[in-house]
Subunit: 291 residues, 2 copies
């Protein structure tokens, strides 16, 4: 088994993005500017947004944070989004999810200017992705594709199992991997909570993308010899030996699969670090398109 | 083997639509109005458009045909589409495909007002479909779902193989059948030209949706006992016994599968007749939304 070092690949990507920014500076071109819209005080959301802003700084992007109280009305939030849409200095922005219960998430994501929708969640961009038209891809599937590309895992004609059908991971990666593209052309199966005999499906697969959220669910006796496993699961489990009191565990039981798997992404340090760099790559692209 | 009578189910649907139109008339509501945009003189395209217009008449819809010379420029076609977008009497319209080579099809479909896009090909509607949001579904996959629903074929937890990944059939039906909906929840695999061992994939499937376009490709030894097969293949093959000189043949070798299959859609008379009725259903819906 070979571990795919997502942290290292993400750093390579960030280095490439930084170089692009430096080249833009030399050529008197605009510096990419990412904005984040944050509603409420959720600790995890704050952490995510802060790491995005930190990453912006590391590559030389401009960044802005728009924070609103949890009590903001839907109408007011929409009017704030319209302002960001119209702000010519902002190339791309994200609305940090989840939003408070009184706000209709679909309605809000619909308001984001598709040309600034660097999260790729606007129906127009999601539709283009499904149609195979070049557009902003959601960060997690885009990160998985980048890992597959840079690790040179062959996808064409391979049997690929995607476990999970979420809007942010399972659905988009299943579509992308089956498209007629260099990183695609896999025979993709989407499994989910209603699927029967997941073990058999796993055993038949050359590539497994797991986004099921059950700690160490995938064991050695469930996988095919030499298969590649992309672990998108992130679950906090209690850990008294850690100062935080918990540790982050993926869907894959690394020890158990180690003697059979080909490539595996560890958790943490696999898919996770890729998402922010793909978001920045989308922002750079939005900036380039606007040139 | 039981044949699914698409012609009969389509007539039921048309009857239901006709009734809705009569009820609208009684309630002094607007009559649904479908427009078709036709470019050039392609015989097949003319036939398709004419049958759509004929179907409109049969249910009491208003219809309009906008015909343009094959030499129409992209800019001129876009300006014509904008006029139809703005025409308040028109509830929905279709741009008959394919378009001449000098016109960018994606660009044209992007110009259709998503609220009048009864073909469901605008990226915004296609994205909503992929996201599981209620919207206009493309006619062929919508017709397949209607056949499955009205035949009461169980989909939940079933293994479903979609052969073909086209924008109009394979991709959308694969997404819809795997969504968490009453007609969905299948474990769906998408196979295509790069897939390996199609026979094995077929043999493992409870439901096969075939849109491969190879006459009588699916034989009895390729299918599982009791499986349901939806045949979307339409190929013209020479037939000297027919006055037309050809006959229409599907992907399924009916004779060969007859002793093993559960439900099968014949060609012609299966999926084909459903597409026009689903287009009219979308138009009725567009009219109801605009009320």
């Amino acid at each position: 088994m070979k571990l795919i070092d997502g942290k290292k690949i993400s750093e390579q990507l960030l280095g490439e993005i930084k170089l692009s920014v430096e080249n833009r500076l030399k050529n008197n071109l605009k510096i990419p500017h990412l904005a984040a819209i944050l509603v409420g005080d959720d600790g995890a959301s704050k952490t995510y947004v802060n790491s995005k802003i930190k990453a912006c700084k590391s590559v030389g992007f401009k960044s802005s944070l728009y924070s609103y109280k949890v009590s903001i009305s839907e109408i007011e939030l929409i009017s704030q989004i319209k302002k960001v849409n119209e702000d010519k200095d902002i190339d791309g922005f994200i609305v940090q999810l989840p939003l408070p219960g009184h706000i209709d998430q679909d309605k809000i994501l619909n308001e984001v200017d598709p040309y600034k929708d660097v999260d790729g969640f606007h129906p127009n961009n999601y539709g283009k992705m499904t149609l195979g038209v070049d557009t902003f891809l959601p960060a997690t599937p885009a990160g998985i594709i980048e890992l597959i590309k840079r690790t040179k895992i062959k996808t064409e004609g391979k049997k690929c199992l995607v476990i999970g059908r979420s809007q942010i991971v399972g659905r988009p990666i299943s579509i992308l991997l089956s498209q007629n593209k260099t990183f695609g052309n896999s025979t993709v199966t989407v499994a989910h909570s209603r699927s029967v005999d997941l073990k058999k499906l796993c055993l038949e697969s050359d590539i497994i993308i797991s986004a099921i959220g059950i700690p160490e669910f995938i064991k050695g006796d469930m996988i095919k010899e030499g298969s590649s496993i992309i672990d998108v699961g992130i679950t906090r489990v209690k850990d008294h030996t850690s100062s935080k009191g918990y540790k982050i565990v993926g869907d894959v039981d690394l020890k158990s699969v180690s003697s059979k798997a080909g490539f595996v992404t560890p958790v943490p340090g696999g898919v996770g670090p890729m998402t922010i760099s793909m978001l920045l790559k989308n922002t750079l692209r939005a900036c380039e398109i606007a040139d």
